[in-house]
């Protein structure tokens, strides 16, 4: 597992500033993992394990919370209800209104799964956001993409749905100029940005954290390097807090945009 911060620090070993060895700069290689174990021909790596663990955690958490639901929620059920209501009131209702309540389970699962996956970059031992491997993002995007296509065609008919892509209130001679833009936006840019936004944020976050973790270790010395060490240690705390925010924000944005796309499919707003 070359991506482990602990393992990364190992080749640095006693390697510190002024001891004649260079800074072991993190890079793209930190996102490649060796096989941990195999199930048949299937090679399980750390990101896969994290993804599966997160999925199981979300399922088990909500399963336990609502195993025997009570009218007056207590304990885990209370916590889960707060989470669900937050998603409903901050994400679902603003875009979809009350008619969108049937999509609540999907959005709740999506939100908490992405959030937990992102948080894994901060939790010791895991310390890797699987979403920084783009292959983990595309299945989510595909799910959302297929869903809003299906809903759009189901609710507005195939022709009606395509018609919504034609911008309203534009003079007819401008339309041929705008239609390629609308099609590119709808077919290519919209799903692409949905996925790349999440991927790029997690990728950059993990890289930043690794850089400062390693630098803190590298600059640990009893000379003037100690000053740099303190600076870098401060950056670790700062980036950690920043990532705490980014993790939540990315899950929020992904789910909010999903809700907006679903709303567009159900009924064109403009």
């Amino acid at each position: 597992m070359t991506g482990d911060v602990q393992v990364l620090a190992a080749p640095a070993g006693g390697c510190h500033i002024f001891s004649g060895c260079g800074y072991p700069a993190p890079g793209i290689q930190d996102f490649d993992f060796q096989t941990m174990f195999r199930i048949g021909d299937f090679h399980v790596t750390k990101p896969i394990l994290i993804a599966v663990l997160c999925a199981i955690s979300v399922i088990v958490f909500f399963g336990v919370a609502f195993w025997r639901p009570k009218m007056v929620p207590r304990g885990v059920q209370n916590l889960a209800e707060i989470g669900i209501l937050a998603v409903r009131d901050q994400i679902l209702r603003p875009s979809l209104g009350r008619r969108g309540d049937s999509y609540l389970p999907f959005l709740v699962s999506l939100f908490f799964y992405i959030w937990l996956m992102n948080l894994m970059e901060l939790i010791p031992f895991f310390q890797f956001p699987s979403m920084s491997r783009i292959g983990f993002v595309w299945p989510l995007v595909l799910m959302v993409y297929v869903l809003y296509w299906y809903l759009g065609i189901k609710n507005q008919g195939a022709w009606g749905y395509f018609k919504t892509m034609i911008p309203p209130g534009v003079p007819w001679f401008i339309l041929p100029i705008l239609i390629p833009v609308e099609f590119a936006r709808f077919f290519i840019v919209q799903p692409f940005t949905l996925g790349v936004r999440l991927f790029a944020n997690m990728f950059a976050g993990h890289l930043l954290l690794t850089i400062f973790y390693l630098a803190t270790w590298y600059m640990l010395s009893l000379s003037i390097g100690l000053l740099y060490f303190v600076g870098s240690a401060f950056m670790v705390v700062f980036v950690f807090l920043l990532e705490l925010l980014v993790d939540l924000l990315q899950a929020f944005i992904f789910t909010t945009l999903t809700a907006t796309y679903i709303a567009d499919s159900l009924e064109r707003a403009h």
């Binding site: 009131d89 901050q90 994400i91 209702r93 603003p94 875009s95 911008p167 534009v170 100029i177 705008l178 390629p180 833009v181 609308e182 099609f183 590119a184 936006r185 290519i188 840019v189 919209q190 940005t193 944005i253 909010t256 945009l257 809700a259 907006t260 403009h270």
Partner: protein, 81 residues
């Protein structure tokens, strides 16, 4: 009563926030989409006539069209509604 009001206020501010995010990303998508669409058309034209200039020119034209459309649609106060 007080809680009800503050809840309603929170909901309406959340609504504004979600709309803002939606509009913001739509505008961004248009910018990229213009370049993708007309860059693509330019690239195809360039292949057909064995020249390399239509691709960047197409991208610039697409960016211009996107900008014009965004200003037309979102530039005026309340035009998005």
């Amino acid at each position: 009563m007080g809680t009800y009001r503050s809840r309603a206020a929170a909901e309406s501010s959340a609504e504004g926030g979600a709309k803002g995010i939606g509009v913001g990303w739509t505008v961004f998508s248009y910018l990229i989409a213009g370049m993708v669409a007309y860059g693509g058309i330019g690239w195809l034209v360039g292949r057909a006539v064995h020249a390399s200039w239509p691709f960047p020119v197409g991208m610039l034209v697409g960016l211009g069209i996107s900008l014009g459309y965004i200003i037309y649609r979102y530039g005026r106060q309340g035009a998005a509604e």
